[in-house]
């Protein structure tokens, strides 16, 4: 099977917005997020002949985004590095939407890459522990530990806004909404 440009283009068009949102939460930077998604989708292009015939294309592109993100972070080629220092705005009023979002992004930036990925996959993408483990190539126990440590750190960093992270997803990945 070949690489049908139109078909792959449709796939890119369909998946780009969602992948960009996930990538932005991982990177905290719009430009980095675009680079990340473009690289991941280019990798998908290479594998497209076998992906197009399966239902695995979505999982593949998400995994490619994660692998590329973690690889870039390992090479320390990233401008936004995790910091143990809490953001200065930790005490912000949690009812202020815009400021609150900035606080959350600042808090995410304090997490190591894998913990940040776990938080984004579980809380934003609504993936279950097993799915996250498969995406990250680790055990479910590791995902649970990473989630627990990440949430504890987010609570510490967020200060008064700590109740924002009280709602952990259940095992099947769904929050209590």
């Amino acid at each position: 099977m070949g690489r049908d440009r139109s078909e792959f283009g449709d796939f890119v068009t369909a998946r780009w917005p969602a992948m960009l949102r996930t990538a932005y939460l991982l990177t905290g930077d719009h430009g980095h997020a675009e680079d990340l998604v473009q690289t991941a989708l280019a990798k998908c292009f290479v594998a497209w002949p076998r992906l197009r015939a399966s239902a695995a294309a979505d999982a593949y592109v998400r995994k490619a985004v994660l692998n590329t993100y973690l690889s870039w972070r390992r090479k320390r080629s990233w401008h936004e590095l995790p910091s143990d220092q809490p953001p200065e705005r930790a005490g912000v009023d949690s009812t202020e939407g815009l400021a609150q979002r900035s606080v959350v992004m600042d808090a995410l930036a304090t997490l190591p890459p894998k913990q940040r990925a776990v938080v984004v996959l579980r809380f934003y993408d609504d993936l279950g522990v097993q799915q996250v483990a498969q995406h990250l190539g680790c055990t479910t126990g590791s995902v649970k530990r990473q989630t627990s440590v990440a949430l504890a750190k987010l609570r510490t960093v967020l200060g008064e806004a700590a109740d924002l992270v009280e709602e952990a997803p259940s095992v099947d990945g769904r929050g209590r909404r």
Binding site: Y24, A42, R101, M105, V120
Partner: protein
């Protein structure tokens, strides 16, 4: 009522600036990657490549899907000195890094530095792929693209050099649960065999299936069964039958099956199919090669005047490379030997002083 984490993350991305989706740029990037893969794979048979990839990483959506068809698939006489990896007649410069220990995969060479950083050299680039490997211990199969190590955070890592991505990172524990301490507490990677990686932990030797991403304790008492190597399902272990009984090397794919016994030695390396076993010991100047099934000594005839002969790599199931020191010299010669021909010849002479030469065995010169 406070919003949830999901709400906050969703709000954060709701108003992301919209820009045209760069479909042409993505496809252009993809085409460049495809050309690069085809150029390095040395094959134009895309379907065959895809099939190999599917076998190599089945069940795991991979980073690019072209595992196991790398430029360095062939095993040649290989060693490293300082910042140069010698691969047949090819020299691969990894400066400014100095090779502390290294292994070969089908896609290049994974090496550590004295500081514990882990790099992949593919003949064109040198890319850092890990750190914290303070012991400099690496494990790789005789063929394939997986390399394993344990870092200083006590996490076992398996990296796929074809996909340029980690396929496993999982916590390992050096703390024994049954009170049996290892002679060295730190966990480390023992071997990679196909899609199974083996590492030694406080609970014993763990076999980690890379397809299912799950592990089982294979050998629960590492003080009695010290796993040296695994090849094609056959496991070479150092076995201590009892406190006052002599230790042996045993080879088996089934822990309960009858195990052929071999003399205990310092170095134990199975051939790729596990049919031959190389034993090396500083007190035996020749080193020994055994036919595992028949337990016959099939050691080829060595050129005269060598001591400290150890197998450093298997070229295939019949041929291997050994390091050897001429009597009265600290210089290293590399011998190429054939079991079926029963002979060895000098493949490279005086490649460096003992201690200055590294071999693709995944640890600092152990000889």
């Amino acid at each position: 009522m406070s919003p949830t984490m999901k709400d906050l993350l969703s709000d954060e991305v709701r108003d992301l600036p919209t820009s045209p989706i760069p479909v042409d740029a993505v496809i252009g990037d993809g085409r460049r990657r495809l050309r690069r893969h085809r150029a390095t794979s040395g094959t134009a048979a895309f379907a065959a490549v895809a099939a190999v990839a599917a076998l190599a990483v089945q069940g795991l959506p991979s980073d690019d899907g072209f595992a196991g068809v790398g430029e360095f698939e062939q095993r040649k006489v290989t060693y490293a000195t300082a910042s140069t990896i010698h691969y047949g007649g090819q020299e691969i410069d990894v400066s400014p890094h100095q090779v502390w220990s290294f292994v070969q995969t089908d896609d290049g060479f994974v090496f550590t530095t004295e500081s514990g950083d882990v790099y992949l050299a593919d003949g064109e680039t040198v890319e850092q792929i890990g750190d914290g490997n303070d012991d400099g211990l690496l494990a790789a199969d005789d063929t394939g693209s997986y390399v394993a190590w344990v870092d200083s955070d006590a996490e076992a890592v398996v990296y796929d050099t074809a996909d340029r991505a980690e396929v496993t990172r999982t916590a390992v524990d050096g703390e024994p649960t049954d009170g049996v301490w290892l002679d060295d507490d730190a966990p480390y990677a023992v071997a990679v065999d196909g899609d199974v990686a083996y590492w030694r932990t406080g609970d014993g030797v763990v076999a980690w299936n890379l397809t299912t991403q799950s592990g089982e304790v294979l050998v629960a008492h590492p003080d009695q069964f010290f796993v040296h190597d695994v090849a094609d399902g056959r496991i070479a272990q150092l076995w201590t039958p009892g406190a006052d009984l002599p230790r042996h090397v045993v080879v088996s794919s089934d822990p309960d099956a009858e195990r052929p016994l071999f003399p205990m030695t310092e170095r134990t390396d199975l051939s790729p199919s596990g049919h031959h076993l190389a034993l090396g010991d500083r007190f035996d100047p020749a080193g020994r090669i055994y036919d595992v099934a028949r337990r016959d000594d099939v050691t080829p005839t060595l050129p005269a005047g060598y001591r400290r002969v150890f197998v450093t790599q298997w070229i295939d199931d019949d041929r291997y490379v050994a390091r050897a020191q001429p009597e009265g010299s600290d210089q290293i010669d590399l011998l190429r030997c054939s079991i079926s021909a029963g002979t060895c010849s000098v493949a490279a002479s005086a490649v460096g002083s003992a201690g200055d030469v590294q071999y693709p065995v995944g640890q600092l010169d152990p000889y």
